[in-house]
Amino acid sequence: MTEAKPAPVLTAKGLAFGYGAHTVQHDVTFTVAPKSIFAIMGGSGCGKSTLMKVMVGLLRPSEGALLVGEEDYWAATQDRRAEVGRGFGVVFQSGALWSSMSAEDNVALPLRMFTDLDEASILALARLKLSLVGLDAAGSVMPADLSGGMRKRVGIARALALDPAILFLDEPSAGLDPISARRLDDLIVALRDGFGVTVVLVSHELPSLMAICDDGIFLDADSGVPIAFGAPKDLRETCEHPTVRAFMHRERLEPLE
């Protein structure tokens, strides 16, 4: 706490976003510190995944700015956004593997598209990424023949293909058993510690949030604005907002008077 805070890798300033005329969230302002694991929390339908879409370049916000480093991401040209986006690794909820390619080709495709590496290096890197997620034997397996958890891990390996500076994960542990979810949490922490990558994850899995996240934002569906900021374990102890309390302690939310 004594030394100056490092410059944030992501800064959201008054973001508003939604679909068509319908605004899901507005006045979303936060910063993500380098090498942190940042959680986007909230109940179902509050706009968590939509916020992540804004951050990875899939949905233009209707208001506000998103700074990547110091650069205004959405003000940049499409080409520049694509270039910046190569520093992002995105893991989708179901893995979203390309079903016509083997696991290894899924990981190798970004390397083939965006680097000038020779085939041997690409394969070595792809195999490394697969072995980091514990699936080095799965290289030639097609996505349809993998289990849900394995697909998710191949998705992480693919997101790591270009050694991203920021890793985005949408509901990483949704649909996994507690043991696999725990293993995935450990993997995320190890990747953060090892590669020094910044992690932004969308989640409502309390155990994961408590265990690994060191900062976060809590979106509220009813008011359409963020209602709490900070590490999930601190919010659990200190936040007095009834929705956050209900969420963190799995309480029944009493209707407001």
Binding site: T115, L128, L132, G134, D145, D193, G194
Partner: protein, 385 residues
């Protein structure tokens, strides 16, 4: 916290960073044969993976990473490759000189991975055997589907199938009214073309008037059924396959099965009934439109009188010809619907499989229809019909 060191390339980092480099130095211990791999510069995967040092005859390997800059997977691949090389010489490299994060990441790769081993490649005999078994199984499946369709179809007619009436109506609309425009265009043009083709030959014998017979008989007996079937195979058969294959991919079919809704009654039956019922109607309509096309061409461009054309058509087109065409179209409809539904149900769960299912449905539909038509032609010839 030194943020430039041991950070993967930041997005804004210039490309001019000094690139990866290694040198070898003799180790202090053991006295002979030990080597220290000295790492320096930035090891970034995008700039390439470093070639391995020559470590032949080395008795121990260790690292010195004091001058190492930023690094990412490139370093991990390098360290793993040296491990692999050293294992051949029964050496375990001493990796304590590397940054602690490297060891942490490499420990992830050491975790055993349990996985279904992909099936080993089989020999020719096994390949032929498997294909034969697959073909036989498939034939049985299709026969089952056909039999089930007939049985359940009969039940449906008596109102005993678990099929929603609204589904049948939607399918009837899709395979009927919605197909009228394309069936109209194709048959109208085919009728016109037949008139032209006939005119070229018949005119040589001064037998122009028989153009009407040619168009009438060809359309009712052959072309209307065939052309409509080909159009419907591409249009509706392909749609059935794609729809059911996508449902397969979304686990919608599993959901139906789990709830206990018979997939056959619910999904397949309305489609087969609809197409089988609509095909003869479309075929009849197509024949009429085809004759109209022939009429238009003959009267406007080939100088036939309208009365003569109508009279010739009336004489040549008999109820038998029309019935024969309708009988064929019913079987074509059944074949196209079964090909479409079967390839849809058989599809696996990926996006590519939806494309494959649609292709299979259309190819089997068209080839099957033409082959079946040939069988009808041979039978009709044998029966002198």
């Amino acid at each position: 916290m030194a943020s430039t060191r041991h950070a993967p390339h930041m997005i804004t980092m210039a490309e001019s960073a000094p690139s990866r480099e290694w040198t070898l130095r003799d180790a202090a211990s053991p006295a002979n044969g030990g080597r220290v791999v000295v790492l320096s510069g930035d090891w970034i995967a995008r700039d390439g993976v470093a070639p391995l040092p020559d470590l032949a005859g080395v008795s121990a390997i260790s690292y010195d990473a004091a001058d190492l800059g930023a690094w990412d997977s490139a370093l991990l691949v390098f360290v793993l490759a040296i491990r692999e090389r050293a294992r051949a010489d029964d050496i375990t490299p001493d990796e304590t000189g590397l940054p602690p994060a490297v060891a942490q990441l490499l420990s992830l790769t050491a975790a055993p991975s349990a996985l279904p081993v992909p099936p080993e490649t089989a020999g020719l005999a096994a390949h032929v055997g498997r294909s034969t078994i697959a073909l036989w199984t498939e034939a049985l499946e299709v026969m089952t589907l056909l039999g089930e369709s007939l049985l359940r179809g009969w039940a449906a007619i008596r109102g005993r199938a678990r099929m929603r009436g609204v589904d049948l109506l939607v399918c009837l609309h899709e395979a009927g009214v919605a197909a009228l425009p394309i069936v109209t265009i194709v048959n109208l043009l085919v009728g016109g073309i037949l008139a032209f083709v006939g005119a070229v030959q018949l005119r040589k014998f001064g037998a122009d008037i028989y153009i009407a017979n040619l168009v009438g008989v060809a359309m009712t007996r052959e072309m209307a059924a065939l052309m409509t079937a080909i159009v419907m195979s591409g249009r509706t058969g392909g749609a059935y396959a794609a729809h059911i294959a996508t449902m397969q991919g979304n686990e919608e079919i599993d959901a139906l099965r789990a709830i206990g809704i018979p997939v056959h009654d619910y999904l397949i039956l309305p489609r087969i009934l609809a197409l089988t019922a609509m095909m003869p109607l479309l075929c009849l309509y197509g024949a009429a439109v085809g004759i109209l096309g022939g009429f238009a061409v003959s009267v406007s461009m080939l100088n036939l009188s309208p009365e003569a054309f109508i009279e010739q058509t009336r004489q040549s087109v008999t109820g038998g010809e029309i019935l024969f065409g309708l009988l064929k179209s019913v079987t074509f409809g059944l074949l196209i619907a079964i090909a479409g539904c079967r390839s849809g149900i058989k599809a696996k769960r990926s996006a590519a499989d939806v494309g494959k299912a649609a292709t299979t449905a259309v190819v089997i539909g068209i080839v099957g229809v033409i082959a079946l038509d040939a069988v009808f032609a041979i039978c009709a010839n044998a029966l002198d019909f």
